[in-house]
């Protein structure tokens, strides 16, 4: 009772900063983002020490159910009725892009972590949006060029027949060729709804390529990895968009040897381990994916800037807050030092990992070994090539 009494005057003095985590809490992206992403945002509040700095920060979360209209109405309601100032996470490109439009219209801050589309910092960029973790360009570049350097000189692709798959195929092929590798062929499978990939795997095997590239995502990729293992495929399998939660679900027997790109791995260095261990009480059974760690990193940076410019000002003008966020270098335990570019792209190194064999792994979640690092200044699409209007200005 006494405690409540003492916090009331503080709340009356400083306005409350509200963070909305819009994510997938019930569908296919639940494990890569979902409840753990919300936990990561709370962890950022704790690590920043909002209470000690006299700030009031509230976190709300909602399930966008992977429908853009639900995402838009939730975010509009958050902003208009509940006074939410910053929206983060938002896996699913369709929802992610739609929310960017709302953030701009209402002049709020939008830190996307879960969407893959590079349009967020390209043709559809806006002054209220920062794209934090990864995009299709970064996945293609890291997996394509770094793996060729590591000896994967000839490739065969299994591609999902929709824009995301085709973009990955196109971009990755470009980087492979540029790095001196060869693309021997690609099999396109109907999306969605394909579950049997055996004929594609046989084609891949017959091509004689060293690497099998999986230009797909989610359940399809998991099925392909499993079936490649069952077929005893003698190729290095490279998943273009695979998360550690997928590896955990697959098990090392099925996933061993798989090569993938991720900008975060919990056991990478002392700082990432420290962050992941701090998160442990909030999410005891899992280690965070790069998307979840990204919501931590993004929220922490936002809090730093909001504290520096004053909460009232941060609430008043989202674009100005984002401007300040771009000016201040980022640094946190999950992503290390980094920066944010004019087009809203957050820059940090990307890592190429290989999944350990069961013999190499010391236990659950000890899954990756590092193959190669693409430095931050090379990991993402060059500033001028995205077609973002903010760059010319």
């Amino acid at each position: 009772m006494a405690l409540i009494g003492t916090t009331v005057p503080a709340r009356a003095q400083t306005p409350t900063l509200k963070i909305g985590v819009l994510t997938d809490l019930s569908g296919p992206y639940k494990d890569i983002a979902g409840p753990v992403a919300v936990a990561c945002v709370r962890q950022a509040l704790e690590d920043f020490g909002v209470a000690g700095k006299g700030m009031n920060v509230e976190v709300v979360s909602a399930d966008h159910q992977n429908k853009a209209d639900i995402g838009v109405s939730v975010v509009k309601q958050w902003i208009d009725r509940d006074g939410v100032d910053m929206i983060t996470e938002v896996a699913n490109s369709g929802v992610g892009l739609a929310v960017a439009g709302v953030a701009r219209e209402k002049n709020k801050v939008y830190l996307n972590c879960g969407a893959a589309t590079s349009d967020l910092t390209g043709v559809q960029c806006n002054p209220n949006t920062i794209h934090w973790v990864y995009d299709t360009y970064m996945l293609a570049k890291s997996t394509g060029s770094a793996l060729v350097k590591a000896g994967g000189s000839s490739w065969y692709f299994i591609t999902a027949d929709y824009a995301f798959g085709k973009a990955l195929l196109r971009d990755t092929s470009q980087f492979i060729t540029a790095a001196g590798g060869k693309v021997l062929g690609s099999a396109t499978y109907p999306f969605p709804g394909t579950t049997d990939f055996s004929s594609f795997l046989i084609e891949a095997q017959a091509s004689g390529a060293k690497v099998l590239g999986l230009a797909s995502a989610g359940a399809d990729t998991i099925n392909q990895i499993k079936q490649a293992q069952e077929f005893g495929l003698k190729m290095t399998v490279a998943g273009l968009l695979v998360f550690i939660s997928d590896i955990h679900a697959l098990g090392l027997d099925a996933a061993k040897g798989l090569v993938l790109t991720s900008s975060f791995y919990w056991d990478h260095d002392d700082r990432t381990r420290a962050f992941s261990n701090r998160l442990k009480p909030k999410a005891p059974s899992v280690r965070p994916t790069m998307v979840q760690a990204g919501t931590y990193s993004a929220t922490l940076h936002y809090l730093k800037v909001a504290a520096a410019m004053g909460v009232a000002q941060a609430k008043a003008d989202g674009a100005a807050t984002v401007e300040r966020m771009k000016a201040m270098p980022t640094d946190d335990d999950a992503f290390g030092p980094g920066s944010i570019r004019a087009d809203g792209r957050c820059l940090h190194p990307s890592f190429l990992w290989q999944v350990k064999t069961p013999a190499e792994s010391r236990g659950p979640w000890d899954y990756y070994k590092l193959l190669d690092t693409t430095p931050a200044n090379q990991a993402f699409r060059p500033l001028g090539e995205g077609g973002c209007a903010l760059v010319k200005a």
Binding site: L25, S26, K30, P35, V60, S61, A62, D63, H64, Q65, N66, K67, A68, D69, I70, V72, S73, V74, K76, Q77, D80, R81, S93, G94, L97, A98, A100, G101, T117, D119, Q124, D161, Y162, A163, F164, F191
Partner: protein, 337 residues
């Protein structure tokens, strides 16, 4: 024996249906007294609610309510279960979004274009689908709608899985800007009420009587000299037109058109709305749309419970509200809503 008893019930039903509706049709736009009162209450709610509830949410309810009413025109009055209505809803929303964004059309023209898209698509797909009845009809519409979905996934103009984004709300007649939520709300409310009245008028016209006759007994309607296929095709096209209008309106409200709108789960959702509200009742789909949209909207804050709750409510409805909410509640008070 069985034939004669069935014929007797058919006659009873036909007589029972014709008696209350026809004499009053001229007097109150086809509404019975209770229906007229219910309609007045609905109009009042549509006008008053935006001051109490969040307008964007209400607009979504109204768009889905129109969609569900359009669907109900088919299942409730012709007995055709279309499992592909998302195709017309979604294409309507794509066309409206695209024409507003790239041609800068004014809102009403874009919505009408959305409706015409639904109509054209409905005419073609319906022409194929109405040749079969029952489950086969449902499966054919589902298959055709999946083809439309595939087209939307692949066609460059739809933006694939990203959808058409940041569509401006445009203006009404090129004069009144619709950027404010309340401004566009009145447009949406008008579209919904006009569509609702149109459907009601269709159902209570001589044409609507023939549709009901087809629903009750198609061979008999044929034997009476009606070309049932023509009637079914017209009803199907009308329903698709309204679905397209609903989709186009929704695209303007949210400024987006995405694959969600053409996905088969959207077809399922409209079936759910109609069943939940009450099949073949004029207010049922509206109530169903309200319940389903409210669940999606308000349960979003409770994490993973949206789908679980939706499922539970659906099961409860099937078990205890066999005629849907409006059908059952109306039955308690002996009202035909």
């Amino acid at each position: 024996m069985s034939i004669s008893s069935r014929t007797q019930t058919d006659i009873d039903r036909a007589a029972g249906e014709a008696a209350p509706v026809v004499p009053k049709a001229g007097s109150m736009f086809g509404f019975s007294r209770t229906q007229a009162i219910a309609f007045a209450i609905m109009v009042l709610l549509v006008v008053l609610c935006p001051w109490v509830l969040y307008p964007v949410f209400l607009m979504k309810v109204l768009c889905f309510a129109l969609f569900a009413c359009a669907f109900n025109l088919l299942i409730g009055y012709v007995g055709l279960l279309s499992f592909g209505h998302a195709a017309f809803f979604g294409m309507g929303s794509y066309i409206t979004a695209w024409t507003v964004k790239h041609w800068g059309l004014s809102a009403e023209v874009a919505i009408i274009l959305g409706g015409l898209t639904g109509a054209a698509l409905g005419l073609v797909l319906g022409w194929l689908a109405i040749r079969r009845q029952g489950l086969y009809f449902a499966m054919i519409t589902l298959a055709l709608a999946q083809m439309v979905y595939f087209f939307c996934l692949q066609a460059p103009f739809t933006g694939g899985e990203d959808g058409i984004q940041q569509v401006p709300r445009s203006s009404l007649f090129g004069l009144l800007p619709l950027d404010r939520d309340m401004a566009i709300y009145w447009l949406v409310a008008f579209v919904f009420l006009a569509g609702f009245l149109f459907i009601h008028r269709v159902v209570h016209s001589p044409f609507g009587q023939v549709l009901k006759a087809i629903r009750e007994n198609e061979p008999r309607a044929t034997s009476l000299g009606y070309r049932t296929d023509d009637y079914k095709l017209i009803a199907f096209t009308l329903s698709c037109t309204l679905a397209g209008i609903a989709g186009g309106t929704k695209a303007l409200v949210f400024g987006i058109a995405t694959l969600t709108d053409v996905h088969y789960s959207m077809s399922g959702e409209v079936v759910l709305m109609t069943l939940l509200g009450g099949l073949g009742t004029i207010f049922g789909p509206v109530v169903g749309a309200l319940v389903v949209t409210a669940m999606e909207n308000y349960l979003a804050q409770f994490g993973a419970w949206v789908t679980v709750t939706q499922g539970a409510i659906f099961i409860l409805c099937v078990l205890f509200f066999r005629k849907g909410i409006v059908g059952t509640v109306g039955g308690w008070f002996r009202l035909e809503l």
